[in-house]
């Protein structure tokens, strides 16, 4: 293991180099461009065995990834925002064909208006595409998660995307403990494919028309793979923890044990939020935080368990559902808590759209609002934090 200073883009590109996939098909897009650039230099300098396809669009990137994965290759790509949106159609196909492709995704707002900075609207847009989604809090986690994702995808036979917040992580230098190349290779092991298109002597047909008599069974099978994915993710994370000392779960609880008030966040905001929790704890408030690391499969049980004794929950969404009800994470957390005995009140806080900074004071305000709500003050179910009102 060696300690280096890397941005999330650099760290994810390094993880790709160490994984050494057979094929990478990718198209550059801010703020993930660097991943594609750095990886291209690895290819051109002979540091990987990978065949790199410089496709003409993200749609073709994912389409080529599907072709390559179906042909029995280990396959990765990288994208962000509009690029992920352009892939949308084929993301569903990759998942339904059960191809273990990994995307290094950098979170950026979806147009319009066009914007290059962080929010989660891009990955939220594809949350039901059948891909495993892992949201990293920092560059270290982005790096570790990419390595884990490759193994998870090939054990669950589901594609997986690891996301890191645009610019906040993608371009910010952080201290990273990097594994040795051999450690990564030993950890991910031999590539596994669900089937092989290139087995000429045993020809298979992939992607047939599936009508009323079989389509539902195939979708049920895909759903089953996602239901079984938490077990795979935990197993891989445990193995990673044992070998390399860094432990990861589906969710991360922070000072929740005796908390009355909790916020739920994803991605890099968790760092700021943890500091805010500490600050407020010092002032005597019983507050805590739940970070959802794995959003797909949705860890309903873990969320229910973590928040069951909390009085009020504020769910912070870095994406707006534009549905006049609440952010996407809010909707699902609230649905999960419907099964809790105490049924805490749950409020939605949309923040940070298009890279709007989120400061400790913003997070403190969320806590203040849910604490006031607990004391009987009426607050809106859906709130916007950090916007000029």
């Amino acid at each position: 293991m060696k300690v280096v200073a890397k941005t999330a883009n650099e760290a994810m590109a390094e993880a790709m180099r160490q994984i050494n996939p057979d094929v990478v098909a990718a198209y550059p897009i801010t703020p993930a461009t660097e991943i594609v650039q750095i990886f291209s230099s690895f290819v051109h300098d002979g540091l990987v065995d990978t065949e790199f396809i410089a496709v003409e669009s993200e749609h073709s990137a994912m389409s080529a990834c599907i072709g390559a994965a179906a042909a029995g290759a280990r396959v990765m790509t990288s994208t962000s925002s509009q690029g992920l949106a352009l892939m949308d159609e084929v993301l569903y196909i990759a998942a339904a064909l059960r191809l273990p492709i990994v995307i290094c995704e950098i979170n950026r707002a979806l147009s319009a208006p066009i914007n290059i900075h962080c929010d989660h609207s891009d990955t939220m847009n594809v949350r039901d595409s059948g891909w495993i989604q892992i949201y990293a809090e920092d560059s270290q986690e982005a790096y570790d998660s990419v390595i884990q994702a490759m193994k998870i995808a090939e054990e669950a036979f589901l594609p997986a995307m690891v996301t890191a917040d645009g610019f906040i992580l993608s371009h910010a230098m952080q201290r990273i403990d990097m594994l040795e190349d051999e450690e990564v290779q030993a950890f991910i092991g031999e590539h596994k494919s669900p089937y092989n298109l290139l087995d000429i002597d045993n020809p298979i047909t992939i992607g047939p028309l599936d009508l009323q008599d079989y389509f539902f069974e195939h979708k049920r099978q895909e759903a089953d793979a996602m239901m079984k994915a938490p077990k795979v993710i935990k197993k891989v994370a445990d193995e990673f923890g044992q070998k390399f000392g860094r432990k990861y779960g589906l969710v991360e609880e922070y000072r929740l044990d005796d908390a009355d008030y909790a916020i739920v966040v994803m991605g890099s905001t968790a760092g700021t939020a943890k500091d805010t929790v500490d600050l407020m704890r010092e002032k005597g408030h019983k507050v805590g935080l739940l970070r959802i690391r794995v959003f797909r499969p949705f860890p309903a049980e873990e969320i229910l368990n973590a928040l069951k004794n909390v009085k009020v929950v504020g769910v912070m969404d870095r994406a707006d559902g534009v549905n006049a009800f609440g952010g996407p994470v809010f909707m699902e957390v609230r649905a999960a808590l419907y099964e809790s005995e105490k049924k805490p009140d749950v409020y939605s806080f949309v923040y940070g759209l298009g890279g709007r900074d989120v400061k400790p004071v913003d997070i403190e305000r969320v806590f203040q609002m849910i604490m006031e709500a607990d004391k009987g003050k009426k607050i809106d179910r859906l709130n916007y934090i950090g916007v000029r009102e």
Binding site: N202, T205, I206, P208, R220, Q221, D224
Partner: protein, 92 residues
Amino acid sequence: MKETWKELPIGAIIKEPGTSKRFETGDWRTERPVLDPEKCIHCMFCWIYCPDSSIKVEDGKMEGFLYEYCKGCGICAEMCPTKAITMVREEV
């Protein structure tokens, strides 16, 4: 009884090639091709122009039609240089 979701191959693939042979399309036909072996010169035009892989060829010889699949389009009769194939109405 069709398979349950647990029994189907992963990813909706079809593992076995050429399974369409189990689906007969011969009943689409309103006219059937009939071969006059006397006239046939085994030129294979019917074979190369058949859209339904329904010309029976054995040992390089035209041996008739796969009526289980032939849809009765009539291309073979139309293209036959010796008029060895005629189309006749299917009796119900």
